[in-house]
């Protein structure tokens, strides 16, 4: 298969620069091109793609292919937004030398992903500035769960609760405030250690992976049909986006595309997920600066979206609708009409909520210049999704890599440079408006016909990257198939994993009482990160 024309000059420049060092490429799909090269090649490969072609490392993960090729594999996934393609560099790591070179000093965006590989695959990091465990907490025995010789149901000795050694921050008047893992609100668990001087936060250490529950390993043990249900449980507030990314990966592996009606229904549901989460966050941000009335209105609107979801999918969080090859059940005219009417009702209600917040000067005062994430920092950390867009990072898979029905609709991607809480709020406001418009465009000309394409049984060792722009940002599911219609690997990349370190930057020089609103302005998924 030929790569996209936009990718050709990039491929030519790589061949010119690296010649025989990179092995013949595999192009399973026009926008997904694989190379194989040695570890030494990686820094130069990265540098060329970053500096000359504006690439970014969208994901880094490992795969235990010892049974197939004798090696572990590292996959460096570069997204070329302008060329609308992914270049994927596969680097074999021989089991006799289970180590790999860290790129975190040059690309801080890789920090957590590299450490996770070290934990879950037992490949030792070299040259990482902070190579402590992250996914497996301190008193885990020396196990590497994503290796093939580790069984999913292995029973480990009970957790003894060894204390994590945080970095020490010292100085006159510096004190520490530990928070979590059980928080004061109804949120997920994680530990935050603030080092504070006076009122200002000097340094925030975030420790996550409390909700690590073996999800990626579990994918390797489930039949494909059940994988969709598991994908819905990666991050409950993005159930549909994750399930759709999973289905997208399977469809790409099979070379099958979902029918037009299913694609339109997918886009509609992705936008409904965006709307209910964004409205909920807008209310929660208002609550965190004590504007509770706005939250009451936001919750009221969110409830109406959840009820609509229930009518469309049988579940308020849109579970049970996604399916490989399309969607599981069709909508009748009454359901489509309910959708249309609810969106028509929501539009003015949403605008009056926005006006309520906009006209509250004290709210604006608390949000503006609070929790700034500078564009340069966002770029270094590879911040994606709405947080990236509030810090000048204008990418959106819906526009750059159109999936579902996004090629058939027009919409704009809001981008701001200031990177404060107010702008992350404003991105949400603008995106909800765009979502209304996308749904209106799709419902006014909803394609008719089939809702599900049939899929062939997949041969083993097919690799495919599925992607969806969820409401937080880009979601990737990379799969390698196994015999008997199962998966040998399912790598899940939730935008939260990429974005968490941004919180540590955004809180600096802010006061602890502003932490909740800054945290909520990112609203990252712990479960999506920890898996």
């Amino acid at each position: 298969m030929n790569a996209l024309p936009e990718l050709q000059p990039i491929l030519a420049s790589l061949t010119e620069r690296f010649g025989a060092q990179i092995q013949p490429m595999q192009i399973p799909r026009p926008n997904e091109v694989y190379f194989q090269g040695k570890m030494e090649l990686v820094p130069g490969f990265c540098a060329l793609l970053y500096k000359e072609w504006g690439a970014r490392l969208a994901s880094l993960f490992a795969d235990d292919a010892r049974a197939q090729t004798g090696d572990f594999h590292l996959y460096y996934v570069f997204a070329l937004d302008a060329a609308h393609g992914f270049l994927i560099l596969r680097v074999p790591v021989p089991p006799s030398q289970p180590r790999f070179v860290s790129l975190t000093n040059a690309l801080p965006a890789l920090n957590w992903q590299e450490r996770e590989i070290q934990d879950l695959f037992g490949l030792k990091l070299e040259g990482h500035p902070n190579a402590r465990p992250c996914a497996l907490h301190d008193d885990w025995p020396a196990v590497h769960p994503l290796r093939k010789d580790f069984a999913l149901r292995t029973v480990l000795p009970p957790f003894a609760g060894e204390r994590h050694k945080f970095r020490v921050v010292e100085g006159e008047g510096v004190f520490q405030v530990p928070v979590g893992p059980v928080h004061a609100g109804i949120i997920e668990p994680g530990h935050f250690l603030f080092s504070v001087a006076g009122e200002s936060v000097l340094y925030l250490q975030i420790r996550l992976f409390y909700t690590h529950k073996g999800t990626e390993k579990l994918f390797e043990n489930l039949p494909l049909a059940h994988g969709v249900a598991l994908a819905e449980s990666i991050s409950g507030d993005s159930a549909f986006a994750h399930a759709t990314a999973f289905c997208h990966a399977i469809e790409r592996a099979a070379g099958v595309e979902a029918p037009p009606r299913a694609r339109a229904m997918r886009s509609i549901c992705l936008e409904l997920e965006r709307i209910y989460n964004h409205i909920g966050d807008i209310g929660a941000i208002a609550t965190d600066v004590a504007f509770v009335v706005a939250n009451a209105h936001a919750m009221r609107l969110k409830e109406q979206v959840l009820r609509l979801n229930e009518q469309l999918a049988g579940n308020r969080l849109l579970r049970g609708l996604a399916a490989p090859g399309g969607v599981r059940s069709d909508w009748n005219t009454a359901q489509v009409e309910a959708l249309r009417q609810r969106v028509a009702w929501l539009r003015p209600e949403f605008e009056s909520l926005v006006a309520l917040i906009r006209e509250s000067s004290s709210t604006r005062d608390r949000l503006e210049t609070t929790g700034i994430l500078r564009p340069e920092t966002a770029r270094d950390l590879g911040i994606v999704g709405l947080a990236g867009r509030a810090s000048g990072f204008a990418h959106d898979l819906r526009r750059d890599f159109p999936h579902a029905a996004y090629a058939d609709v027009t919409f704009t991607v809001p981008v701001f440079q200031e990177g404060d809480v107010l702008r992350r709020l404003q991105v949400r406001v603008d995106e909800v408006r765009q979502s209304f418009s996308i749904i209106e465009q799709l419902t006014s000309a909803l394609p008719s016909g089939a809702i599900r394409a049939s899929l062939p049984v997949l041969p083993p060792d097919v690799v495919a990257l599925g992607y969806v722009e969820g409401w937080r940002g880009e979601i990737f599911h990379w799969i390698r198939t196994a015999p008997d219609g199962r998966l040998a690997r399912c790598k899940i990349k939730d935008p939260s994993l990429q974005n968490w370190p941004a919180l540590s930057e955004a809180i600096q020089d802010n006061i602890i009482p502003d932490f909740p609103v800054i945290n909520k302005s990112f609203n990252l998924s712990y479960s999506g990160t920890d898996r």
């Binding site: 885990w140 769960p145 580790f150 999913l152 149901r153 292995t154 029973v155 480990l156 009970p158 957790f159 609760g161 893992p181 059980v182 004061a184 609100g185 109804i186 949120i187 997920e188 668990p189 992976f209 409390y210 909700t211 690590h212 529950k213 073996g214 999800t215 390993k217 579990l218 049909a225 059940h226 249900a229 449980s233 990666i234 991050s235 409950g236 507030d237 159930a239 909920g280 009335v293 009451a296 209105h297 919750m299 009221r300 969110k302 959840l306 009820r307 229930e310 009518q311 049988g314 308020r316 969080l317 579970r319 049970g320 599981r328 359901q335 309520l356 006209e359 998924s525 712990y526 479960s527």
Partner: protein, 278 residues
């Protein structure tokens, strides 16, 4: 200021008066699966379709026992797709004090080809395994706890490893639509202020200690409500190297609330059941 007042007055009251009026779930909503037991011919397709093992069967030489465990069920509807004898109802208020109450068993006489013949025993909730005397003491204690806590109850929510779906719905209890506070119930920031722990799961290995400590920090008497398929049983995650399964693997549970996630009605029903106001 006047805008805010006007906005609120113009909106009016949006709060449901559940449980006075029944839960308003849509017709499409998937709740408890209903099995047409007398006409069920073969359980195997539905059992194979079930992603969590909520539907299971064990075959003896001539009989088959089919079990439906609502504590594991995510109401995904795969079984109903695989077998016309199963229909998804929209019944969502399924909270139970004992795990056994969530389990239904049906027995069939088995044909040589693996299909069902005669229905030997109709759907029946599993018997409570505890002796009656103990149960009576438990009931008295429960009544006293309900009397102490029933009129005003402070709830601490703990996510012990969930996917955050349950959190979306639990947070919704604070919305003006469900308004938990009208029952004298409210969420508090610390387990030291709490009478009830509302726990979502599965309990991850990394959260086990934190959950135990949170429970121990609560003053007695205390209630624990396990929320969702994962909180009740481990759900689709079950037990694995990183997941211990349901909440009752770690701390004692008073009420189980099935669902994936349970909707706000199901949650309210579960909480009210725990304090005997359901």
């Amino acid at each position: 200021m006047f805008d805010i007042l006007y906005h609120s007055l113009a909106t009016g009251v949006v709060t449901t008066d559940y449980p006075k009026t029944p839960a308003q779930t849509s017709r499409q909503s998937r709740g408890r699966p209903e099995i047409d037991a007398p006409n069920w011919k073969d359980a195997r397709a539905a059992v194979a379709a079930c992603p969590t093992g909520a539907l299971s069967c064990t075959d003896g030489p001539e009989t088959r026992r089919v079990t439906l465990d609502l504590g594991k069920c995510t109401f995904c509807g795969f079984c109903a797709e695989a077998d016309p004898a199963i229909r998804m109802s929209n019944v969502c208020e399924l909270a139970a004090r004992h795990k056994a109450e969530l389990t239904t068993t049906i027995q069939y006489q088995l044909a040589p080809d693996g299909t069902h013949q005669a229905l030997l025993s109709p759907p029946r909730a599993a018997a409570d395994p505890r002796p009656a005397a103990l149960d009576a003491v438990g009931a008295q204690l429960k009544a006293r706890i309900a009397k102490v806590l029933g009129r005003s109850l402070h709830i601490r929510e703990v996510d012990a490893g969930s996917c955050n779906g349950c959190e979306v719905e639990i947070a919704g209890l604070n919305s003006p639509v469900y308004d938990l506070e009208r029952f004298g119930l409210h969420f508090v920031a610390s387990p030291r202020h709490a009478d009830m722990l509302l726990v979502t799961g599965p309990v991850s290995r990394n959260m086990e200690l934190a959950l135990r400590k949170t429970y121990e920090a609560m003053p007695a008497p205390r209630l624990v409500v396990a929320v969702g398929a994962c909180g009740c049983s481990g759900g689709i995650f079950g037990t694995n190297y990183a997941s211990l399964g349901g909440v009752d693997k770690v701390i004692p549970v008073d009420v189980y609330v099935p669902g994936c996630p349970p909707n706000p009605y199901a949650l309210l029903h579960g909480i009210l059941t725990a304090i005997d106001r359901g």
